[in-house]
């Protein structure tokens, strides 16, 4: 996926491939996170000319952004120029959670044990350490998950209808106690949906699958 190994277009100067590869060899210094979606918009002409030029100008100073730009170009499948908006109401989020949970469960149960390690030893995955659909004591409803080194976490707790009950502040702790205000809105034996977003030391984020639990 490198410019240096791609066939040289007719008329391209002979030294360009070498210059491209040399520039691409620069590595980022873990600076601010790169907004891949904004770069995607720029590559596909969805930003103004001025904004696109500003982003291109950033590529030199930010090798991470340059790498994301190259990926946006190389992976490019032109999205449709004109699309019809699809407004889906809040109800679809409930179904979304169900499908995500089902997909996650299917992934866990159907993935061959001998498959090369992807998520199992994945140091950056965030996975609940609670039993599936655990029942939490109302007096001490603690959510726990596997940590990622150096990460800080935010937790969202929602109803099964995905109404937000609580969103935690960012914290390095790999557990979160659901607050009293949120608990008041959960009936005895009621179910909650929760999800963790980990902000890593390099500025990137990892969003966990959604998990469920019951409140005693």
């Amino acid at each position: 996926m490198t410019s240096s190994e791609a066939p040289r277009p007719t008329g391209e100067p002979a030294d360009v491939a070498r210059l491209r590869a040399a520039l691409a060899s620069l590595r980022g210094d873990g600076g601010p996170a790169v907004d891949a979606e904004r770069i995607f918009d720029a590559v596909h002409g969805r930003l103004s000319v001025e904004e696109r030029q500003l982003i291109v100008d950033e590529l030199l100073a930010n090798p991470d952004a340059a790498e994301v730009w190259r990926l946006a170009r190389e992976l490019s499948v032109e999205p449709p120029a004109r699309v019809r908006p699809q407004y889906l109401g809040w109800r679809w989020l409930t179904a979304a959670a169900v499908v995500l949970l089902a997909a996650g469960a299917a992934w866990q149960y159907t993935r061959p044990a001998s498959e090369p390690v992807y998520r199992g030893s994945e140091a950056r995955a965030v996975v609940s350490t609670l039993p599936a659909d655990a029942t939490l004591p109302r007096a001490q409803p603690v959510l726990r998950w596997t940590g990622v080194e150096g990460a800080r976490y935010r937790v969202r707790v929602l109803t099964p209808e995905l109404e937000l009950l609580e969103a935690s502040a960012e914290s390095p702790a790999v557990e979160h106690t659901i607050g009293a205000d949120a608990l008041q809105r959960v009936p005895a034996g009621g179910r909650i949906v929760w999800q963790v977003e980990a902000r890593l030391s390099d500025g990137s984020t990892v969003v966990s699958p959604t998990f469920t639990a019951r409140i005693e």
Partner: protein
């Protein structure tokens, strides 16, 4: 670039479908958006990446409220999830970074292989010199050459920067000439 019209609209517009079937259509469209952009070497994990992309959609909805779930948006989120995964793997030195072309021929993702002389410090010094030279160049020439060295053709460079082809061609040509002179001045053979 190939154009693949999405068909989520077809799936959701035939009749007022219940929310779950709408979401199923969305999940299916996201899976297709991921597969269309996914390099062959990562295709075994397309399902997992699609799930990560769906989680991004959910998180965005929860954070920012409802938004139009256009096919462009789905492609963008799918792309973002793919980029996250590719960059994550590139940071893991033990993972071979191989890509497969459509015909099955394999190629490397990294521009240079470990141990390649071009991966040496001197090669990166050349990259640094390219960057320094461009940073000191006239802005328009810098923008043109930066995009050209990112792998864009002259017409693509013109489109992205909002210029006509002739102007882009001139700026790339003159910018490259300036760059070569600057590199020679720094003791580098372009």
């Amino acid at each position: 670039m190939r154009v693949h019209p999405p068909d989520i609209g077809d799936a959701t517009d035939r009749e007022p479908a219940p929310a779950e079937s709408r979401w199923t259509a969305l999940a299916s469209a996201m899976a297709r958006a991921v597969r269309r952009q996914c390099p062959a070497w990562l295709s075994d994990h397309a399902q997992d990446i699609a799930q990560m992309a769906l989680a991004k959609v959910m998180a965005a909805e929860q954070r920012e409220g409802e938004r139009p779930l256009t096919s462009f948006y789905l492609h963008r989120v799918a792309h973002s999830a793919l980029v996250d995964e590719i960059r994550r793997r590139k940071r893991r030195p033990e993972v071979p970074l191989e890509a497969t072309l459509e015909g099955g021929q394999e190629r490397r993702v990294e521009p240079v292989a470990t141990g390649d002389p071009e991966s040496s410090a001197s090669f990166r010094e050349l990259g640094t010199a390219v960057r320094d030279c461009l940073a000191a160049a006239n802005r328009d020439r810098r923008l043109a050459v930066t995009l050209y060295l990112q792998g864009h053709t002259v017409p693509e460079t013109a489109r992205i920067l909002g210029w006509d082809n002739k102007r882009a061609e001139n700026l790339v040509y003159r910018g490259l000439a300036d760059l070569r002179q600057c590199l020679l001045g720094k003791g580098h053979r372009p």
